[in-house]
Symmetry: none
Subunit: 214 residues, 4 copies
Amino acid sequence: MSAIRRLGRPPASSGVQTEARIIEAARRCFADLGYAATTNRAIAEDAGITTGAIYHYFDSKQALFERVFTQVEELVSERLSAAWRGAGDEFAHRMRAVLEASVVLNRDDASLARFLVTVPTECRRRPELAPLLGLLNGYQERVFGPVVDDGIARGELPADVARSTLLNVIGVVLVGLADVSANFSSPEQHAANADVVGRLFEGTLIPAPVSRVS
Amino acid sequence: MSAIRRLGRPPASSGVQTEARIIEAARRCFADLGYAATTNRAIAEDAGITTGAIYHYFDSKQALFERVFTQVEELVSERLSAAWRGAGDEFAHRMRAVLEASVVLNRDDASLARFLVTVPTECRRRPELAPLLGLLNGYQERVFGPVVDDGIARGELPADVARSTLLNVIGVVLVGLADVSANFSSPEQHAANADVVGRLFEGTLIPAPVSRVS
Amino acid sequence: MSAIRRLGRPPASSGVQTEARIIEAARRCFADLGYAATTNRAIAEDAGITTGAIYHYFDSKQALFERVFTQVEELVSERLSAAWRGAGDEFAHRMRAVLEASVVLNRDDASLARFLVTVPTECRRRPELAPLLGLLNGYQERVFGPVVDDGIARGELPADVARSTLLNVIGVVLVGLADVSANFSSPEQHAANADVVGRLFEGTLIPAPVSRVS
Amino acid sequence: MSAIRRLGRPPASSGVQTEARIIEAARRCFADLGYAATTNRAIAEDAGITTGAIYHYFDSKQALFERVFTQVEELVSERLSAAWRGAGDEFAHRMRAVLEASVVLNRDDASLARFLVTVPTECRRRPELAPLLGLLNGYQERVFGPVVDDGIARGELPADVARSTLLNVIGVVLVGLADVSANFSSPEQHAANADVVGRLFEGTLIPAPVSRVS
DNA sequence: TATGAATGAGTGTTCATTCAT
DNA sequence: CATGAATGAACACTCATTCAT
């Protein structure tokens, strides 16, 4: 089309690279500033382009958010799934492995957890993002469903508690850890917090009351 | 229902009442939509006034947010403090009382917890709100500091875990519960979740396995 | 009407005093900030009342401005008229007296001149104030008309210059002096400036070129 | 005439041209309405764009004002400097040349003088504009400093008057002329006024009376 | 007489989005 | 592929004005 080829620009696959840079920049911005406060301009500057270019790759800010979400969700769920799969059959061991994996994830790229933690809130706040909530529920089930099922089957988890509640509680501690970590704690503190939560699941944090009677 | 208001001072209106209505409306909006997405107009409509009237009572959106914060923080910390103070000396009992109080609070007015949970995130996102973070830290210490200290003194909490980490973990579960409740669960589910977390602190969730016997 | 009379308030003629305070406050504000940037609130605070009270005495901001104008215009024109009337018949002497009076006026209450100088500009800017321009023209004619007429009659002012132009030029130097004084100069500098202008009218600033030939 | 503009970049539009149009429109509006009463909307309409577009070229209304100022100040000071430089060495001739140049400037684009005259007042009124006052002082010195110095050196200006006062007085008559012209006079009247002021500086307005002979 | 609650129109400014280049 | 000019709707906030008290 254009006879003169501009020099200095990598001829191959620059589009793919640009798209990836936009996604990363968007993840950081959404994680740091939230959906409402993240401007296309902030994303563009972080990615080293101009706002118009975003629209070559994404239809809208919302579409970009959704793309970031699916990418983060895949990565995190794979990591956490892999973690407990490599930790034997015992429930407490698996939980500990998951907690440790979440600490590592958080240490390597804090924006992953920060982003993921705020997704539910953003979904509640912006109705147009609500469909993502369904994906998040599926994620919880997919990643931790087998852990809970095995725990119940093995008698490690009490039978008088609803399965969904057990799933929920795993979410509670992971969300709580990530949230506290994002806002208050250093990575070291995050690790310490995760360790104590692991001990909660092992039942070793608080000495069983029986011993006090004797 | 809502007749068109005329100019001038409306009959039978007290400034104190209006101010209270604005604060309540703002709490709901901030909790539901976040700081950035909450518009003065949304607050005004919720409070049954026009946007200009807000500025008779508050200097800015930020000042209004701060006012909501201090009010919520006071109310919640009083309730939670009262809860464990009326629950004997045992750590696990106190935690259970706190968890139950948080369930009640959440059931009575979900916007209280929703608002409070998002404060740290908002503070990180908007530098001008950062000073509130200091107040939140003080709150954690004020409300739960004695609980942790007594737990350590009575030997119910392990001595090999830093006091600050124990405090943090209490925050983790409360934040996690509120967050999950705000985004996923019904009040009933919230109560069930809190109950399971209480059992975690009692060490009774997971039947101590073989290893503890030996 | 109300049986109980509030104490501490001067029972007599407080209304008149309040009105005067409002007018003074408005003059200062209009002079300092201009019509557009002067808020009712600024005036009210300067006068020690609330904005609502202004509307007991004046129908609108515009009416208040007009009232300030007529008051200032009367005071200044009386002072300047009196000045040249007490300075003999010679044109240059009369001009000098007028200049000196303007210096004194400016020293005693700078807001008088500042206000008056900006009136024409405000009138051009806000069409609703335009009628005041007519009054200002009448003022020029009333105060300086006789001075110019006598100057022409006495042969002190050249016959080949239109009377209106001579009137205009008196306005030029007075406006110029006030403007420069308002924005740049100290009272002392204002006096010095006025003195030099006086010498211009006496023809003694620049040595007549004749002398240089000889 | 003004068709409804569509979204996106308008065809055949150069940013430089638009920026220039905005500056011109702003100069007219600021000159006519003053800083406070000039709305972005007025500027935008005058420039044939929408208000948002202004912010592609200027950070704020204030920045736009400053830009207009520097442009006008440069243009006017160059014109007036050139005028007296081409008028020989005699002080009165130079002043006359300056006055005539100011008449021409005013006739060609009245908004130049109108804008410039109101700058000091605006600077006093809005503290954020105050820095411009310093530039204006420099301008007076730069343009008229040599004129005064030469006048003193050549004995045309009296040695008993402070140099700064002489500079001030030049400002007084120019400001006064522009002000009166802006508010009262036609271009013809302006020229006549300037002519009379010129004669003041030549000492020929008032026929030196008896006293000068003796 | 004076206050202070409230309105409604307006301000400067931001921003997601569109589109010619 | 990417830029940057431009829009239009929104935003937080201000202000002259009205009116019950």
